[in-house]
Symmetry: C2
Subunit: 457 residues, 2 copies
């Protein structure tokens, strides 16, 4: 078998850093979503770009699929080796290579997680802004073009990666971008690899934009009488130009899950969580203006805090939302939808989705990065009742169609993987076939994460 | 001849909107830089996407080169038909198709200029932020991934285009992106076409991000004792996190050109021009903090203004810098360099460049978007003295090599065209050949703006 031949050759190069143990294969076959466990044939643990290059060359010779692995927190089955092959685990390439404080950038290996990076940056007065809920790796975040709570102010991975080092399917190593803040020097290859989910190349190094820690930060959480009021307050705030650093929506069901998981005592109502960054006077002013808008829409229970500890608790709670929801449903699996719509359509999109879920009889709390028009339903199903997964998929389909009808996208930040691939033609039309053309050009033998993002003949 | 056959067929489709008049050909053979006039074989004036599609299909059948034309303000010979063929002039596709004020976006045709768009948006309370010096078309700005004075706050074209409609070399029409603020749905084709300079497809429609007019704006200009002090003040301001909307540097020679052209009375010293956007209190606070930093570096003559008329005058002067410099040198031509470096290297880059120009004996004022690390030398030469162009090219080469040595790029915002193509291999290494692979995939017959950005065999 071609895969076996590749693995045999990889073994001689990597020694015990090529694992075929059952526990390792099982671990790299898992996912945090509803997909079946799908173990790869082997797991490779490279320690350098040169080793990644060697792995790719060997696999290319044998036509063996290569699937990059960060920490496995993706939600659309991105990292599952659905055609077998080798899972390339980047956990031993997890170093910060340089921090250029004066230029507000840093260079990291793909296996570092966002919390580990935050720790490394703590003393510098700088921070990396992109914060998906999970403690994902930076390589994985780049590969899925991830975002999080701060995208409304600081942007997504698209905006915060200056350059990449990438190993291509033929083993060539390229560098994209520079350490300059902008460039018009030819095709934007950095952007092409961001969001390509390991299908065009393996990211082995990232140059990241950093931001200065704001002088002052002010956070708050407040309850609204209903979803429509909460989302309308967001729209009004955006249109007034109040510069939010974060504005997050959670519905009553999510608030309930927080109370159980994080020991909070939020009223079981829809909430907004907001944060402002700036100077002492500017955050105070922003908070006052936002408070006025929110009150118009019936907000209550406002509590502003500028204390680090309280803020950390608030955002930790938000980041753990997925785990809080799952903890309330032992033994269940979840489908996390991820639509993003033009902001004027957000209230309609959220309300219609909630009504649809209510009618289905499934448990499906809503939450989202509403400042971007992006929200998620975490639709929970019982794996022993397959008809629930069918109902969930139908709900997700209606939600995705709603997003497209409203001029939006089926995935704001989670990516395509296996879970969204059936929507690509609807979202992109003929442009999806152009994506296929690009894939064929850069990976003609289709060895890089095959079956994700695009479908080749 | 294949080009003649294409033109004959185009004539029957476009009628008098296919021009071969000498004046038209000459007009579309000109450039604002140092390249020789290079007239195309014909000029087409499409009025719709369908006509662009028809033009491309006819040219594809006959292997006739197609070169898109906005208003011809590019600085690297992008729009010159160096292999003959048809110049596609977008001046009759210059409409705003929709303004979605609630979503803060709009949809435009590629032929609209940035000032015409500003006029259309005036009553909405919204503005489009990207502002190259010239009154370029939005299509041209997208094609070169342009930026301008506000990139430090609002980003470049890369950050302000949500989606595109593109006619490909085989006549297919695709749409990239959506009206959602972010998406992780597959390869970022919008980013791929932004900056592709008409070599991968013709942009026929753009969806643009708009920003709310700030409640308060405060601008100032101030003089510094020397270049190093001015640039060091910029670096300190960035590192302190003072949120600038604009921060522009001009040297003493540029200040002198302004005085002559715009009737200003600036001291003949290096200057910074700055602007803050926000609320009344925040811009006042930002101005105070910046003033303190600037004073430390010896700034003087500070004059803050929040009056629209005074601000407009200031920025019009800045935008007209290139014309001011050229007006002071009748009969001369210019080479506008465009390097961008990591911010910590900016002072060195500017000082070394100025010394190099001084030694050359040529006139070459410096100015730039220093908040991004981007600056230009406008190196002026006498067309009757060809040795001056040689000296200018050598200066530009040293400047570009300096940028690359410092981890930067040879073009921050002007693009590659013909003028920077010789540096692409040095800047990108193997990644440039990947760009060639992408070009071959999307335009195998090399009919779209051939000879620009990449070189095919």
């Amino acid at each position: 078998m071609t895969i076996d031949a590749a693995i045999a050759e990889l073994s001689t190069v990597l020694g015990d850093r090529l694992s075929r143990s059952k526990s390792d294969l099982d671990l790299h076959g898992q996912n945090e979503s509803y997909f079946d466990t799908t173990p790869p044939d082997a797991v490779a643990y490279p320690t350098s770009t040169e080793e990644v290059q060697e792995i790719v060359k060997i696999c290319a010779r044998h036509g063996c699929p290569i699937v990059p692995w960060g920490v496995g927190t993706s939600l659309e089955g991105h990292a599952l080796a659905i055609r077998g092959g080798v899972s390339v685990d980047f956990s031993r390439m997890n170093r910060v290579l340089s921090i250029n404080a004066e230029d507000m950038d840093c260079v990291v290996q793909p296996g570092i997680t966002r919390r580990a990076l935050a720790e490394e940056l703590r003393a510098t007065g700088l921070f990396f802004s992109v914060d998906p809920g999970a403690d994902a790796t930076l390589g994985g975040m780049a590969a899925t073009r991830a975002s999080g709570t701060t995208a409304v102010r600081y942007g997504t991975m698209r905006d915060n990666v200056l350059g990449l080092e990438v190993v291509l399917a033929d083993g060539r190593v390229i560098r994209t971008g520079t350490r300059a803040r902008k460039s018009s020097a030819g095709y934007d290859l950095t952007a092409l690899f961001l969001g390509s989910e390991g299908t065009l190349g393996l990211i082995t190094e990232l140059t990241l934009k950093l931001h200065g820690q704001p002088e002052a930060i002010s956070s708050a959480v407040c309850a609204f009488p209903d979803i429509h009021a909460a989302v309308s307050a967001v729209i009004a705030t955006i249109q007034m130009g109040i510069p939010m650093a974060r504005i997050e929506f959670v519905d009553a069901a999510t608030a309930q899950a927080f109370n159980a998981y994080a020991g909070s005592s939020l009223p079981e109502m829809p909430h907004l969580m907001i944060e402002f960054h700036g100077s002492d006077t500017s955050v105070a002013e922003d908070a006052t203006r936002f408070g006025e808008v929110a009150e118009e829409f019936g907000a209550e229970g406002f509590q502003w805090s500028t204390k680090t500890e309280e803020r950390n608790k608030l955002w930790r709670m938000r980041h753990d939302a997925y785990y809080a929801i799952m903890a309330s449903q032992p033994g269940k699996r979840a489908m996390a939808t991820d639509i993003c719509v033009p902001i004027s359509r957000l209230a309609d999109a959220v309300v219609e989705t909630q009504e649809d879920i209510a009618q289905s009889g499934l448990y499906g709390p809503l939450l989202g990065h509403v400042g971007d028009g992006n929200f998620h339903a975490t639709i929970v199903t019982d794996p022993t009742r397959p008809e629930e997964l069918k109902t969930a998929k139908a709900l997700a389909r209606r939600m995705n169609e709603r997003a497209l009808r409203m001029g939006g996208t089926v995935t704001g930040e989670h990516g395509v993987g296996m879970g969204k691939i059936d929507y690509m033609s609807e979202e992109h039309g003929e442009a999806w076939s152009v994506m296929g053309d690009l894939k064929r050009t850069l990976d003609p033998a289709n060895i890089l994460n095959p079956g994700k993002v695009v479908r080749l003949n």
